[in-house]
Amino acid sequence: MSDAAHAHDDHGHGHPTGIMRWLTTTNHKDIGSLYLWFALIMLFAAGSMALLIRAELFQPGLQLTNPDFFNQLTTMHGLIMIFGVIMPAFSGFANWQVPLMLGAPDMAFPRMNNWAFWLLPMAGLMLMASFFLPGGAVAGGWTMYPPLFIQGGISYDLTILAVHIMGLSSIMGSINIITTILNMRAPGITLMKMPLFVWTWLITAYLLIATMPVLAGAVTMLLTDRNFGTHFFNAAGGGDPVMFQHIFWFFAHPEVYILILPAFGIVSQIIPTFARKPLFGYASMVYATASIAILSFIVWAHHMFTVGMPAAAQLFFMFSTMLIAVPTGVKVFNWVATMWKGSMTFETPMLFAIAFVCLFTIGGFSGLVLAIAPVDIQLHDTYYVVAHFHYVLVSGALFAIFAGIYYWLPKWTGHMYSETLGKWHFWLSVIGMNIVFFPMHFLGLAGMPRRIPDYALQFTEFNQIATVGAFIFGFSQLLFLAVILKTIKGGVKATDRVWEGAEGLEWTLPSPAPYHTFETAPVVK
């Protein structure tokens, strides 16, 4: 209640239209859409870089790029895919779905939400613009290791600034998500009644807040080493470049789980819907997610077995890494148990979810192989590692994003997508993805190093197969864009519940979900 003579709140008449609507919006659905569109644009940008990399690697020798530009492409592909595609896409899902799943009218801090998003395009623009600066973009790998990163040109400073901005955006987004989940649950939604997607995001946001200062500090120390004469990581001045790796991976290993936990959440929503059974072992899923998050803080040095460390440390990091397989195994078991004897149908979201379970497990197993210190010493910096993390991040995170988009798109747009086109997209993606990345295991085992534009003749065939797969996978994403645009434009009207087996508050709303929802909190029994 406020005195209208001197106080006006947000009851302003007439929303801004056109570009101003999107610049000033504080609506969680608008901001969710912005995140998802940004991620899609960045996916095509970083995907194009990947295709250029694969085109160069089609045969030995240098064809399309020079070594420095090749290194710029691999670095920017990694940075953009992680910070510009996967993370923003999951933030988009969180913005759309968390309030709808909890019966909340919006995020806890809507204006901060707007800020958190609009920082991202600025950072993305800086990263992309660095290609046109003297010396080109950063070329030392997405891990930004010194001394290479200390020696580069102006684009390295710009990248540090972009990383800071993206970090700030992530922190604001995470604080918003944590406060929304904790404070805006409708009456009756206790923590252990929350949908698993919300749980995974709560834990993801916790990880982000816990690790972001480490990244911010690390890149700031790089910046001061580069410009202000400090020697944190400069061996010539008494610094320790290996310490950067420890600091970086202390952030970046939890970051891997930041990239995959929301994917677990999406898949945990989809499988019960299309198996028409409740999720098997809900509580164990929550505890497994939390266990993975906790363990992620004590495994960082498995990325650095080759830098040299005491045998006891190698053993510790080896066994702690293997321990992560236990809660991950619990999850895979529960997804399979949910499907067991379910009344299953295989719409596109379910196909992507099943592909996720199968292929992510392959990525997990190759991770276990890499966790064995003596094996890792052989395979470090080979294509085996590239195969491993692409099985985790492409068939893991990206496939979960595809699954989530197909699953909730009818709720967002009010129209059903074309199942035929969706299935074409699925099969081309899953076949293309395996053609690209499976041969990389063999290349790595045979000793082909990563991040090198040229290679010995014996690696040619597998590289050619991978390149063909990359183009199939890459161009099939145009089909995905076509599906989205077609669904937004029109199509069969979606029902409120959309999927027969769907459970949860978001399915009680009309399709498309109205601009304002749950202004009066529902009571959940």
């Binding site: 209640m1 406020s2 019966g103 919006d106 918003n176 409708a186 700031t220 749950f518």
Partner: protein, 161 residues
């Protein structure tokens, strides 16, 4: 717009109409402490460990971030006690509200109070206020448009009766 907990009840003296609404607030003090301190301890333990090794620049970022988190929880706590109460008792119309750190109270005479509802259709930011002697006081800020329209109808009937 916040969520609402709506208590439409008869209260005050016999026959008085009391309507109270407040935003939904599911965060308990224990949860808040648990989340805040667990994050603060992890962040500072990490930052202090690295600072001890000479890499002190993580520490200010940890401080800034935990400061932002503290501000966010503090902002939520400030809003936790927000409410609006509207009471019609005989000829007295009493509005009371607590919003953040501000408290307010206004009394009107039932004969002079008018319901002003500016709403083309639900979902278009309807505004509801009570006006008397040329001064309007907005009510129902925690309500949805539909609930505001419903309240407007109830208030008109109560003020006429």
């Amino acid at each position: 717009m916040q969520q609402v907990k709506l208590d439409d009840c008869e209260g005050g003296s016999a026959g008085a109409f009391v309507f109270q609404s407040r935003p939904n607030h599911s965060l308990t003090r224990t949860q808040e402490r648990l989340v805040f301190w667990s994050l603060a301890v992890v962040c500072f333990a990490t930052a202090i460990s690295f600072a001890y090794l000479g890499y002190w620049l993580i520490l200010p970022f940890a401080g800034l971030e935990i400061g932002l988190l503290a501000w966010a929880f503090e902002a939520l706590r400030r809003r936790a006690g927000d409410y609006e109460t509207l009471m019609i008792d005989g000829d007295a119309v009493v509005l009371e509200w607590h919003c953040g750190t501000r408290d307010g109270r206004r009394e009107m005479n039932r004969q002079w109070a008018r319901v002003v509802c500016d709403c083309r259709s639900p979902g278009r930011n309807c505004r509801l206020s009570l006006s008397s002697h040329g001064r309007a006081t907005e009510v129902g800020q925690y309500l949805s448009d539909e609930a505001r329209l419903q309240l407007a109808v109830t208030l008109r009937s109560r003020l006429q009766g």
